[in-house]
């Protein structure tokens, strides 16, 4: 049984080892690391990274790449910061903004589908559009996330389990349910060979709609959790998140070619990237070096995937 497990999930083993070593590094950097509250803080900080990793994975699986992810996070963040604060109405507002994220993501997906354009270019264009919209909503950082919203999102259920962790588990569970359906096979099939999928009579449009909507929803969730951490709005908050999400997914073994990769790998990849950002912060590495490190890691991750792939072929 363990042998079979190893064969099936062996490709995400390296990233799990990396996660563990990152954990140990973080531990040595922080005093009283092994306290429950420290874990809870860490879980809260990592959660947005896990969500953007999952969001990017949905688009990568279709053979595309979402360059607009960061801008959409910024947009959702300033929307939360400028509209919340009306008591019970806030729940509806939050759901509305999440739905808006799904629609905005779906729009770029439909443009890719209908005009058969490369997703990377379309989403790059949309990243500017969403950035513009975000700046229109809020040109300088500001706004406020009320405690009635921050509270539940940063709460620990039963005093132990952080709420974001529960949300992550729910979304992963949902994805793995979908993966077992024909929609799961459809997404991988379209990502592998779009023309072939169409020729075989598969509903290619449905794959695009589902993936981009689900991706948009998770981008919205990431923005919501980020908003709860920062408790304010910033039109540029999403800037580095695009590259972070790609790095996380690729570290988790998702292929650029599409139709290949596991969500669970990306989730671990998201944790590694989140942890990395944290470690660099604790080490007081200046922001510009952080970019250099993140870029370097992305290249490393892509190369590692390729080498592993070649190793398998031979």
């Amino acid at each position: 049984m363990p042998k079979k497990m190893l064969k099936k999930h062996g490709d995400i083993l390296p990233i799990i080892l990396i996660l563990i070593s990152m954990f140990l590094i973080t531990m040595t950097l922080q005093s009283n690391f092994w306290s429950v509250s420290n874990f809870q803080v860490l879980a809260r900080q990592l959660a947005p990274y896990v969500f953007i990793a999952m969001a990017q994975t949905m688009v990568l699986l279709l053979g595309g790449m979402d360059m607009a992810l960061g801008s959409l996070v910024s947009f959702a963040n300033v929307m939360f910061a400028s509209t919340l604060g009306h008591g019970a109405l806030d729940l509806i507002t939050i759901l509305g903004i999440l739905a808006l994220c799904m629609v905005m993501s779906a729009i770029s997906g439909l443009v890719v589908y209908w005009f058969k354009l490369p997703a990377i270019v379309v989403s790059l264009a949309f990243s500017f559009i969403w950035s513009g919209v975000a700046l229109r909503v809020m040109s300088v950082p500001g706004g406020h996330i009320p405690n009635t919203v921050v509270g539940p999102l940063t709460a620990n259920i039963g005093g132990v389990l952080p709420a974001p962790l529960l949300l992550i588990v729910l979304f992963i569970a949902f994805w793995y349910l979908v993966k077992r359906t024909s929609m799961g096979v459809l997404i991988y099939a379209v990502g592998n060979n779009r023309e072939g999928a169409f020729t075989s009579g598969l509903p290619v449009l449905k794959a695009y709609l589902f993936s981009y909507c689900f991706s948009g929803l998770m981008i919205g969730m990431a923005a919501l959790l980020l908003s709860a951490i920062t408790t304010s709005g910033d039109p540029n908050i999403g800037g580095p998140l695009t590259i972070n999400s790609v790095t996380a997914a690729v570290l988790g073994g998702v292929a650029f070619s599409g139709g290949k990769g596991k969500m669970i790998g990306s989730v671990v990849g998201g944790m590694v990237v989140g942890m990395l950002v944290n470690v660099l912060f604790y080490l007081r590495v200046p922001g510009h070096y952080t970019y250099v490190v993140e870029g370097g890691i992305l290249i490393f991750a892509v190369a590692a995937n390729l080498i592993r792939e070649r190793g398998k072929r031979a």
Binding site: R180, T181, S182, M183, V185, L186, Y188, A189, G191, N192, N193, E195, G196, A197, F198, T199, S200, G201, L202, P203, G259, K260
Partner: protein
């Protein structure tokens, strides 16, 4: 009940009336009228570009006709896409592979098929694997349904493609070049399955460039030329039709012998001497090849003959063994080294390995001849070179800068051959010289190969088409399980001895 009674009484399942399709300036299919009977295998015969694929794509809903009507069971239909046609029972095995490399065999076979869905779209994996196993068994394919498709050989992938069509229980099955990568044994199994389907009332459209396959399996034939049906052979006519007559009908003229003459005089000096090559697939392969001869390598797919070409060209590693090329030792390192040493290689998969599809004919033709990476390209010189190559290969009426993608398979293969012509090679290694190429172009390529051999070049060709091997080769080495099982020459070059040698007898 009434409807089904009426439809089953009808002799024809599908009827096309005055169907035309135009692409840009060319009329790909012109005013085509045909009827497809139940329980028959109808061969679609024609050169590349005659309109076979267009016709198939219209029937299967991939293209919409510009004019004309399609009737299925006597009811007019207008396809909105392939999905609709598949649901109505029209399944196609396309010439181009449409598999999803990272999905498992079973997932590939059942992709888009809702009959294995449980509630909420969950997949009944047990049924999926069981039914896939049954179909693969019927096709004689011994593979695990849980391996991913990109771990399969080309032939296995092609049979999975067939399984993918069969799983729909089609009423019309279209096989477009579905046998091109299969060895004779696999073709036989496939034909057994096709006959079974035919006898159960399925209408089958069969496309192949191998005339003997058509003669064997088809009950009727439609001959296409320049987008029109020029001849329609019913059961009676088909019985009295020979392969030559079919070829004549599709070319619109009589053909001379399909294969050129054999080598005239050969020197006795060995050009390529291979001794005891061993690697993962080869178990000690030795052969001597003389200048000016065409040597065929036969065998079932995966028995080592393709591997030998790849080892010689430096693509695959070799563990042991010696190779001498023109009395000088040659060590297989990489393709660049192989080209410098005097090899040329024409791969089986020309679309991905043979040509750069997006680039123009001229760039493709000069891609090997560049002497130094940074030396200036002398366009005038290149033009002359290209003109010369094109003249010797008779590459169609195409324009200089036309994309290779838009050429027919035959012309693409000529481009692959053409790009080597100026590289001064001594040995030409060819994997499937004419896969998926029409008869007329095949003939041209055979003539060209023979003429090339006459200049003192040695040609080593791998092919799964036994008649082709017998037709062009001066000698044939037969591979079996990674070793050379037999060498056929002279009188022994006949179908019976070749087939039995391939089977390891």
């Amino acid at each position: 009940m009434e409807i089904s009674a009426r439809t089953t009484n009808k002799e024809y399942i599908l009827a096309l009336e005055g169907v035309s399709k135009r692409f840009g300036g060319t009329l790909a299919l012109s005013d085509t009228t045909l009827t497809l009977p139940r329980g028959k295998v109808v061969a679609l015969v024609g050169e590349n570009g005659a309109g076979k694929s267009t016709l198939i794509n219209i029937i299967s809903g991939l293209f919409r006709p510009d004019s004309g009507t399609i009737e299925l069971d006597g009811e007019p239909v207008q396809w909105t896409g392939p999905a609709q046609a598949i649901k109505k029972g029209i399944a196609v095995v396309h010439q181009e592979l449409t598999l999803f490399p990272n999905l498992t065999v079973a997932e590939n076979v059942f992709a888009g098929n809702n009959e294995i869905n449980l509630r909420f779209g969950r997949i009944d994996r047990e049924t999926m694997h069981r039914r896939t196993g049954e179909i693969l068994e019927m096709l004689g394919l011994k593979i695990d349904a849980t391996v991913s498709a990109n771990d399969l050989s080309l032939a296995e992938q092609q049979l999975v493609e067939v399984a993918k069509a069969l799983v729909w229980n089609p009423r019309i099955l279209i096989l477009d070049e579905a046998t091109s990568a299969l060895d004779p044994n696999q073709v036989k199994r496939l034909f057994d399955a096709v006959r079974k389907l035919r006898d159960s009332g399925v209408a089958i459209i069969f496309v192949s460039h191998r005339m003997y396959e058509i003669e064997e399996i088809a009950n009727q034939a439609l001959v296409l030329k320049d987008g029109r049906i020029v001849a329609s052979l019913d059961d009676e006519a088909m019985k009295n039709t020979t392969q030559d007559m079919l070829v004549e009908a599709m070319l619109g003229r009589a053909v001379e012998a399909v294969f050129p003459n054999k080598a005239t005089a050969r020197s006795k000096e060995v050009l390529l001497d291979v001794e005891g090559l061993v690697n993962d697939q080869l178990r000690g392969v030795s052969m001597q090849i003389l200048p000016g001869e065409i040597v065929g390598l036969a065998g079932l797919r995966g028995h080592g003959q393709e591997e030998l070409l790849r080892v010689l060209f430096g693509i695959c590693p070799c563990k042991q063994g010696k190779v001498n090329l023109g009395n000088r030792p040659y060590v297989s390192r990489n393709p660049i080294h192989a080209i410098k040493s005097g090899f040329a290689y024409v791969p089986a998969d020309r679309k991905t390995q043979g040509v750069a599809q997006e680039l123009s004919i001229e760039v493709n033709l000069t891609s090997v001849t560049k002497k130094r990476m940074y030396s200036r390209i002398r366009f005038k010189e290149e033009r002359d070179t290209i003109r010369e190559i094109r003249r010797s290969l008779n590459i169609g009426q195409s324009v200089w800068n036309q994309q290779v993608r838009s050429l027919s398979g035959g012309n693409q293969q000529k481009v692959v051959l053409g790009k080597w012509l100026k590289s001064d090679f001594k040995v030409l290694l060819m994997d499937e010289p004419t896969r998926g190429i029409d008869v007329a172009t095949k003939h041209e390529i055979y003539e060209f190969l023979r003429a090339l051999a006459e200049t003192g070049v040695a040609i080593v060709a791998v092919s799964t088409d036994t008649l082709e091997l017998l037709g062009i080769s001066d000698r044939i080495y037969v591979f079996y399980e990674g070793g050379i099982h037999a060498m056929l020459e002279g009188e022994a070059l006949n179908e019976a001895s070749l087939t039995s040698a391939i089977m390891g007898v």
